[in-house]
């Protein structure tokens, strides 16, 4: 009986550990997937922004040149100078864009790292909580098993002692002792106003 109870406790402990390991594996896979998603989105945003900015600059340059070429108002030397100025402005814009792009990229990496760390912390915390709950349940189960086993043992010992006592008494009481016990019972009955 006691062994069977211990078996049941160990069975549930085993199941608990299996559950914990499975959850651990699931969380790890989830973390890897989230990291990959973030990385993909981050790269896509950066690439899109870069493409759009380059497109805007190219469009602006093309339109300006078209306007300058088409105008008869500007003399040739003005046109040359205007073009040179325009190129300077574009180079400056491009340089500023590059700086902004680098800054965004750095910030984005920082955010990604923060998100990853936050997720890792959350998962670690969740794992710890699960492990704590498991440990508490295991300790509680073992405590209950111990209590129940002791109670059962005490009960069995008491039953054996009781049986032995009764058997010994049944065999060992002599005639005079029986007589004394009967008279005692009669006296008690009188004290209880039964007689």
């Amino acid at each position: 009986m006691v062994l069977a109870m211990l078996g049941v406790v160990l069975f549930f402990v085993g199941i608990g550990y299996q559950k914990l390991a499975r959850r651990n594996h699931e969380l790890y896979e989830e973390l890897t997937r989230i990291n990959q998603d973030i990385k993909n989105q981050h790269e896509k945003i950066i690439l899109d922004a870069q493409a759009k900015a380059q497109q805007i600059l190219a469009d602006a340059s093309k339109r300006s040149q078209t306007l300058v070429e088409a105008s008869d108002i500007f003399a040739q030397e003005y046109k040359t100078e205007f073009r040179a100025r325009l190129m300077q402005v574009l180079a400056k814009e491009e340089s500023e864009f590059q700086a902004i792009y680098e800054s965004v990229k750095t910030k984005s990496n920082e955010v990604t790292l923060n998100i990853t760390k936050s997720i890792e912390d959350t998962l670690a915390n969740e794992m710890k909580q699960m492990r704590d709950v498991m440990m508490t349940q295991m300790q509680k189960g073992l405590e209950e098993y111990k209590k129940s086993a002791y109670a059962k043992l005490e009960e069995e010992v008491a039953t054996v002692v009781d049986l032995i006592t009764k058997n010994v008494l049944k065999k060992s009481l002599n005639k005079d002792e029986h007589k004394r016990l009967v008279i005692e019972a009669l006296e008690e009955a009188k004290d209880h106003n039964v007689l």
Partner: protein, 158 residues
């Protein structure tokens, strides 16, 4: 008048047997086949017959009146039901009966049963009241008290 005879009536068996003997004696009042004296000497236990003869001689009343009076006295006897763990010998039984005479009065008969499971002591039932003074009940009470005490100790520790 009936005191000597009544000392022989200690159990319900004694009572039933005496009533049967009285019935046989009463038949002689209506049937001519046998006389009262011959039935008394042949169909009634000797010590009972001796007591009846002695009391009839000393009382000076008729046989019929004596037996009617005796039946009324027997009806006044109260029965004590006694369950013992063993079958007592004559000496032990005499001690028990004497205890009842001393403590309850002479107007009782004992109805004794045997139940070895009681281990010792006695269960007593009288006039609708009951007392269990058996050893088995005392042991069980001790065991119950011990168990309750252990449970209380466990609760205190928790």
């Amino acid at each position: 008048m009936y005191s000597e005879l009544l000392t022989h009536i200690q159990t319900t068996d004694d009572l039933h047997t005496l009533k049967e003997e009285i019935s046989v004696l009463q038949k002689t009042f209506y049937e001519q086949s046998a006389s009262f004296d011959s039935v008394l000497s042949t169909q009634v236990r000797k010590y009972i017959a001796d007591s009846i003869s002695k009391e009839l001689n000393s009382s000076g009343i008729g046989n019929k009146e004596y037996l009617e009076g005796l039946l009324k006295e027997l009806d006044k006897l109260s029965t004590v039901h006694l369950t013992l763990s063993y079958e007592p010998d004559a000496q032990s039984f005499a001690s028990f009966y004497q205890w009842f005479v001393d403590n309850v009065g002479p107007a009782i008969v004992l109805d004794v049963y045997t139940n070895p499971n009681l281990l010792g002591g006695a269960q007593i039932s009288f006039n609708g009241k009951y007392y269990d003074g058996s050893l088995i009940t005392k042991i069980n009470q001790i065991n119950r008290s011990r168990k309750i005490s252990q449970q209380n100790q466990q609760v205190t520790h928790e």
